[in-house]
């Protein structure tokens, strides 16, 4: 049995940060119902992933966007036009049958739609509502819009990433996905509290703060000594060598990190330069850190003439921490991910078999569900008739009024 079987979630999310949060809940067994207006669908339904291919095609038919399919598996879809009072009324009826409501719209949007927490708790007093906005529901910047990279910038993550002599850099969509993971976590914390006490609540989540809470030690460091944490490239404040090295071929790299003297001795043997272990420039961690760039040059002289994956294997077998800097193709081909069933195969009605990334965890007594992201409105009949108890005639009327698709 999946851990969240019997829990139902109303999902008013779009793009990445919200939808992935509810997908994680769906993977754990919750029934997640994705609510979209069919006139204003989740824009990932037909957008392609950046960076754009060339020549630029740019849109795929609805249901076929890879973002949508990657972060909406195992959900059900209902279309409701929330700009119409009847659409909102149906959404409210749906919420009364749910345990958790999640949205990632601009702060206050759910209130404007008539679906704010105060409204919903009148219908279901123990409801849990999680609103994951850009800057949070209160404060002078609450109305400002943002995306993943903007949250990473505001939260302090981008400033410290990149080369010391280069520009700060964002990573990308992973900021949304980790905020989604935290959003899913706090939703379950609230669910646990409700299961214990019967009490629901409202959770106001700020995606900018989600970034900041992951670099708490650097903020505290600034409080302690007024030193601003700067970019360090691939280097570490204490450890050396600790870098990414060029390998044979074009744009091929491996990462290597050495945390103690013993590992350094091992490294010198693997690269066939055991004399380095006795070299006073590299005798201990402090001297290696001091002479880091010389050391990096020596290592790279060795790596740049050799095959990346061969070297990584040599390093790892010898007991060192090393890895290729993998791209998408490397990840698809990786036997370790395969052995752990990190990919799942879904059968998409329009696209056929897709191999997509599965759960970020493995668990005992658990088999991840592998249903494709729902087609737009795929579960209209189920939601409206089975859950809400509408008749065929009522559904037909809604369709005719374009409240549903």
């Amino acid at each position: 049995m999946l851990p969240l079987e019997g829990i139902r979630v109303a999902d008013f999310c779009w793009v990445w940060a919200g939808p992935y949060a509810t997908m994680l809940l769906a993977n754990l067994g919750a029934e997640v119902i994705k609510v979209e207006g069919h006139k204003r669908t989740d824009l990932t339904r037909h957008s392609v992933v950046w960076p754009l291919p060339d020549p630029v095609p740019l849109e795929v038919p609805p249901n076929q966007g890879m973002s949508l399919n990657s972060v909406n598996m195992n959900k059900k879809s209902v279309t409701l036009d929330l700009t119409q009072p009847e659409g909102v009324e149906l959404a409210k009826r749906l919420v009364t049958m749910c345990d958790i409501v999640v949205d990632n719209m601009r702060a206050g949007s759910m209130i404007k739609l008539g679906l704010g927490y105060e409204e919903l708790r009148k219908l279901r007093p123990d409801i849990i509502v999680v609103s994951a906005s850009s800057r949070g529901q209160e404060g002078p910047h609450k109305d400002y819009a943002g995306y993943a990279t903007i949250h990473q910038a505001i939260g302090g993550g981008a400033y410290i990433s990149g080369y010391p002599d280069g520009d700060p850099t964002t990573s990308g969509g992973d900021t949304d996905l980790i905020n989604a993971t935290t959003t899913a976590y706090i939703s379950l914390v609230a669910l646990y509290h409700r299961l214990q006490t019967g009490e629901g609540q409202f959770i106001d989540y700020s995606q900018c703060e989600g970034v900041t809470s992951m670099i708490g030690e650097l903020l505290l460091g600034y409080e302690m000594n007024s030193e601003i944490a700067e970019r360090m490239g691939n280097a570490h404040p204490k450890y050396a060598p600790h870098n990414v090295y060029q390998c044979w071929g074009i744009d091929r790299w491996l990462a290597l990190e050495v945390h103690c003297d013993e590992e350094f001795v091992t490294l010198t043997k693997v690269i066939g330069k055991p004399e380095l272990a006795k070299d006073p420039r590299f005798a201990d961690m402090a001297s290696r850190k001091k002479n880091e760039s010389e050391l990096n040059d020596i290592i790279e002289d060795w790596t740049r003439l050799r095959d990346r994956d061969w070297m990584v294997n040599e390093f790892c077998q010898a007991g060192l921490a090393a890895a290729p800097s993998r791209d998408g193709r490397d990840l698809y081909a990786d036997p370790h991910l395969r052995a752990r069933n990190a990919f799942v195969t879904v059968n998409h009605p329009e696209l056929g078999e897709l191999e997509l990334a599965g759960d970020p965890w493995k668990m005992s007594d658990y088999e991840t569900p592998t249903r494709h992201a729902p087609l737009l409105g795929e579960h209209n009949e189920y939601v409206l008739k089975e859950l809400l108890g509408l008749s065929d005639a009522e559904v037909a009327e809604l369709r005719q009024k374009e409240i549903i698709m």
Partner: protein, 401 residues
């Protein structure tokens, strides 16, 4: 004090550095009773800074202080028979065991998953390792640098680096560990809620590598099925990404037509974007390189905070690239009471980063500052594990504690 959401959940944290401890903090700040087990020399994170005035001191490490709030701390040497016995008693007491040691550590002590669930059949065992507990790389080492590159995020950075002769670069801070910790906390809560119905424990196997891989899930799928390029080179066209200001940088996100229209107004309606053609996203994508130098030139004359507010008030998605100082001084964070003041007996009183969630019924809090090394030995060994004062003194004498 209001009740914590996780009051009553008992957690043993047998973990060092960041991934396990941050997972423990996520639970502890919400009310879980987390007992942190440290070796007698202390969690190695006590040796990592930042430190006040950069002087090392095991009770003043910002890394340790931040990641270990709200916990009780004990010392325990599991390699001594009496220490192992005490660890087993803790595991029997606990609902959750968070362990971020290599697989061999507990198995070497005879504490395989099977043995653990025999001691405590309802135990949720959250294991965090570099590559997970199965698969060909099960015994390989990995940490922040290697795993961010292994899992694919590193390879996408730095964005808009036109120079592929320079290596891809990691994210700052302890991103891998934090991503793993949050994922572990979510899986743990899922398992815990499931346990309420079945009473049965679970093994949760968190591979940090796999966590990072799942964070590039969309890029991986787009690369394979849409043919989008996988590269740190392109980033996004100008006006959709990092731009330099006179005093720093902003990230600008202009997608929809009305956003670009607002931006044109902000720029003072220059000639080079005159005409209705620019009201089409497709036209902009094809022609934005023509105007990129002018846009960059305009942005270079702006100040990051000023343009942030002026653009954001027009509905444009934008944000400054903030340093930790900028974050500490940010009016939005202040208005939301994001920071919490924590007084630690050795380190003193500082403002700490808080939580991204405001909860109407069960607000998280720092229940107590990070523990001094062995601070709660007596109360845990005697009051929780039931050792008599004499037994406790004997354990101290044998070097277990």
């Amino acid at each position: 004090m209001a009740a914590g959401a996780l009051d009553g959940i008992k957690v043993v944290e047998f973990s060092t550095m960041v991934s396990g401890p941050y997972c423990g903090k996520l639970l502890a700040d919400l009310g879980a009773d987390v007992i942190k087990v440290e070796p007698r020399e202390g969690d190695p994170s006590r040796d990592h800074g930042p430190f006040p005035k950069s002087r090392g001191h095991p009770e003043r490490s910002a890394l340790f202080l931040y990641n270990n709030t709200s916990k009780r701390g004990i010392t325990l040497d599991p390699d001594k028979p009496e220490g192992l016995e005490a660890l087993k008693r803790l595991i029997k007491w606990a609902d959750v065991l968070i362990d971020n040691h290599p697989l061999q550590r507990l198995e070497g002590l005879g504490l395989s998953w099977e043995a653990l669930s025999e001691i405590n059949p309802s135990l949720i065992y959250t294991s965090i390792t570099p590559y997970g507990r199965t698969g060909p790389r099960v015994n390989f080492k990995g940490d922040e640098l290697t795993l961010i590159h292994a899992g694919g995020i590193g390879n996408l950075m730095p964005t808009r680096s036109a120079d592929i002769s320079r290596a891809p670069v990691k994210m700052g801070g302890y991103a891998v560990s934090c991503y793993g910790a949050i994922t572990a906390a979510l899986a743990t809560m899922g398992a815990f809620i499931g346990r309420m119905k079945t009473g049965r424990g679970r093994l949760i196997d968190i591979s940090l590598y796999q966590v990072i891989f799942t964070m590039v899930r969309v890029n991986v799928a787009g690369n394979r099925y849409h043919g989008t390029s996988w590269s740190r080179v392109p980033d996004r066209p100008p006006a959709m990404g990092r731009m330099k200001t006179s005093d720093g940088y902003v990230i600008l996100g202009v997608i929809e037509n009305h956003h670009f229209r607002s931006l044109i107004e902000l720029m003072g309606n220059p000639d080079w974007v005159a005409g209705d053609a620019w009201d089409s996203m497709w036209y902009r994508i094809h022609h934005v390189m023509d105007i990129a130098p002018m846009m960059d030139g305009w942005m270079a004359q702006q100040q990051k905070d000023d343009i942030h507010h002026r653009a954001a008030k027009k509905g444009i998605a934008i944000g400054p690239i903030n340093s930790v100082k900028d974050v500490m001084e940010d009016e939005q964070y202040a208005a939301r009471d994001y920071f919490v003041e924590v007084e630690h007996p050795e380190a003193g009183k500082y403002k700490y980063a808080g939580w991204p969630y405001k909860m109407s019924a069960t607000q998280p809090r720092v229940g107590r500052p990070a523990p001094l090394l062995g601070q709660h030995n007596r109360e845990v060994y005697c009051d929780v594990l039931g050792y008599s004062p004499e037994e406790f003194e004997r354990l101290k004498g044998t070097g277990v504690i």
